[in-house]
């Protein structure tokens, strides 16, 4: 028994300072991303979320080049990006997509330059790997308060806008007629998304930040039809994949053939994919079962209308 446990939780796991920081910060960031991500998915803003990550790459690499903490680069560029999206987010989605694509291309091009300069300066590819793919094990404990404040900020925006966000995801016009200031709500939400994406740029990497924003949320939406539960599921999934990812990455130092260890980000993103596929499978199975039950119920009733017109009952049973 102890041997098995030792196999799962390799020695030194709980006493390692980098692991402790990774568990706290990585967990908090995953939770924030997952909660914010639920609204990203239902508002159809996945592309915007990915764009913020890409712009973050430019900011992060610029910050690295000048010797600042990449977090500030990520967050500055993501917020500027969010503001630009709101400015151009007019009624012409096609024009907006093109403009976003061109700006993103330019941003990544600049990031390529900065990362190249950084690499030649330091003679190491460490910066590139850290900016693009993150590294939870090099987070410093002194940064915990900053992460905490930013996490609370993003969560507070989403909690405050919970109902207006849901309603405007159903229909902007209905929300607007109901008295929701849809534009202000949209802008504040972009801010929350920019903060969430910047945080996960640091932990999981700028390129992979979309995975923890969208993945847990998409899986959660398959599992429940209630908004509060969807958020809870997303948070649990986000937290779960991150913690298990950290555990596996730590254990991988002891795996054959070498003692080098695999990156955390790989494990987290792989787990996100697995959870999404499982939830998709679960929801299809559930739908089939519900369908079969409805068929059986209709046969049992023999088409007798139980106070309801036939058409409605049949459709309602789906």
């Amino acid at each position: 028994m102890t041997a098995v446990l030792n196999g799962i939780f390799e020695p030194g796991l709980f006493t390692s300072e980098p692991v402790r920081v990774a568990v706290v910060v990585g967990g908090a960031v995953a939770l924030v991303s997952a909660v914010v991500g639920v609204f990203t998915v239902i508002r159809g803003q996945s592309f915007a979320g990915h764009s913020l990550g890409d712009l973050g790459t430019t900011g992060g690499s610029a910050a690295f080049l000048v010797g600042a903490n990449p977090l500030w680069g990520f967050i500055t560029f993501a917020i500027i990006g969010a503001g630009a999206m709101e400015l151009f987010g007019s009624r012409r989605p096609r024009g907006r997509d093109m403009a976003t694509g061109i700006v993103l291309g330019a941003g990544l091009g600049i990031a390529a330059l900065f990362l190249y300069l950084g690499t030649t300066q330091d003679n190491t590819t460490g910066a590139t790997i850290t900016i693009l793919f993150g590294s939870m094990f090099v987070l410093r404990a002194s940064m915990i308060p900053v992460f905490a404040v930013l996490s609370v900020l993003a969560l507070a925006i989403v909690a405050l806008l919970y109902r207006p966000l849901l309603l405007s995801a159903v229909s902007q016009d209905v929300a607007s007629a109901r008295g929701v200031p849809v534009r202000t709500v949209g802008l504040l939400y972009l801010l929350a998304m920019a903060v969430a994406v910047s945080l996960s740029c640091v932990t999981i990497g700028a390129i992979l930040s979309t995975a923890v924003l969208i993945g847990p949320a998409a899986a959660a939406l398959r599992l429940t039809k209630r908004p509060g539960l969807a958020i809870a599921w997303a948070a649990v999934i986000g937290l779960g994949v991150t913690w298990i990812g950290i555990l596996l990455a730590y254990d991988s130092y002891y795996w054959p053939p070498t003692g080098r260890g695999w990156p955390v980000s790989f494990f987290v993103v792989a787990l996100v994919l697995v959870v999404y596929l499982l939830s998709d499978f679960a929801s299809h199975r559930q739908a089939r079962r519900a369908g079969a039950q409805a068929m059986a119920a209709r046969k049992g009733l023999g088409g007798a209308a139980g106070g309801q017109p036939e058409g409605i009952r049949a459709r309602g049973a789906r």
Partner: protein
């Protein structure tokens, strides 16, 4: 209440449009539109696609500001945020994964504009149940909104709009894409709501016949102009010919009304039954 129900008694005016014109990017979309809506009455806003029905809704909702003319709500200019207008838009497509049940969408009608996370409350739940009953939506109350049929979603959105106790209910093409049974159910439901709750109901439609049995008034729109009154006053050859700017005939066939173009003009029949003609280049 008794006053209102007595025939001929003046009904409370809820909304009036007076000489409303609207120019958008150099084109006159609405020209001198005037009509009023009254408590307990169901009014049909009839016209073909592109006639200006949705624009009239947007003006009433304050999403467009008229270039000239007045929109008065109970005799006063409309306030910026108006809880007394309920709005049901046309054909909204909802993602099947949207984590909202029909009852959640109805509840958002009660307080969807408020900040913060709602606490579970017995009063809230009771109000939602009551409204679900009123639109006969109990059977699908726990179904995801993205999986409702057209008629079910329509009724859910009506409940969403009604739960805030509006004085005016606007429905944009609520009968589009409904089968005949759902169409009759929705029309009957709206007539009942108008009478029972003494609210003004405005329904836009490109086809007036499904509304004929329940419509108290009609506002007929063609090329941005409007004529309003009872069906007998408005849906006449002379009135509609003046509106269209060309001769049209109004035919009564088995209780249905067909509006057809006169044969002396070049015309473009529109709609599935060729009932309405829109002359081009007017306005």
């Amino acid at each position: 209440m008794t006053d209102v129900l007595r025939p001929g008694a003046p009904r409370e005016e809820i909304l009036s449009l007076d000489g409303v014109s609207l120019w958008l990017s150099g084109r006159e979309i609405l020209h001198d539109v005037a009509f009023s809506l009254h408590a307990g009455e169901l009014t049909g806003l009839i016209g073909s696609n592109g006639a200006g029905k949705t624009t009239i809704f947007r003006v009433i909702l304050g999403m467009e500001t008229p270039s000239s003319g007045k929109v008065l709500f109970g005799g006063h200019p409309r306030p910026r945020r108006n809880r007394s207008i309920g709005y049901v838009p046309q054909n909204i497509g909802i993602d099947p994964d949207m984590p909202l049940r029909a009852r959640d969408l109805v509840a958002l009608g009660l307080d969807g504009d408020r900040f913060g996370i709602p606490l579970p409350s017995r009063r809230r739940r009771h109000l939602v149940d009551e409204m679900l009953d009123a639109v006969d939506a109990r059977d699908f109350a726990d179904t995801r909104v993205g999986k409702l049929s057209g008629g079910e979603l329509q009724r859910t959105l009506i409940a969403h709009a009604l739960i805030a106790r509006p004085r005016l209910l606007l429905l944009d093409e609520p009968l589009a894409n409904l089968d005949i049974r759902s169409e009759q159910e929705v029309v009957g439901l709206l007539a009942t709501i108008a009478k029972q709750q003494q609210i003004a109901v405005l329904i836009s439609a490109h086809e007036m016949n499904p509304l004929l049995p329940v419509m108290d008034r009609v506002v007929y729109v063609a090329a941005g102009r409007a004529a309003s009154g009872s069906t007998a006053e408005v849906v006449r050859a002379d009135v509609l010919s003046a509106l269209y700017g060309q001769h049209v005939d109004v035919l009564h066939v088995h209780g249905r009304i067909l509006v057809v173009a006169g044969k002396d003009e070049a015309h473009h029949p529109e709609g599935e039954s060729g009932h309405t003609v829109v002359p081009r280049g007017l306005g």
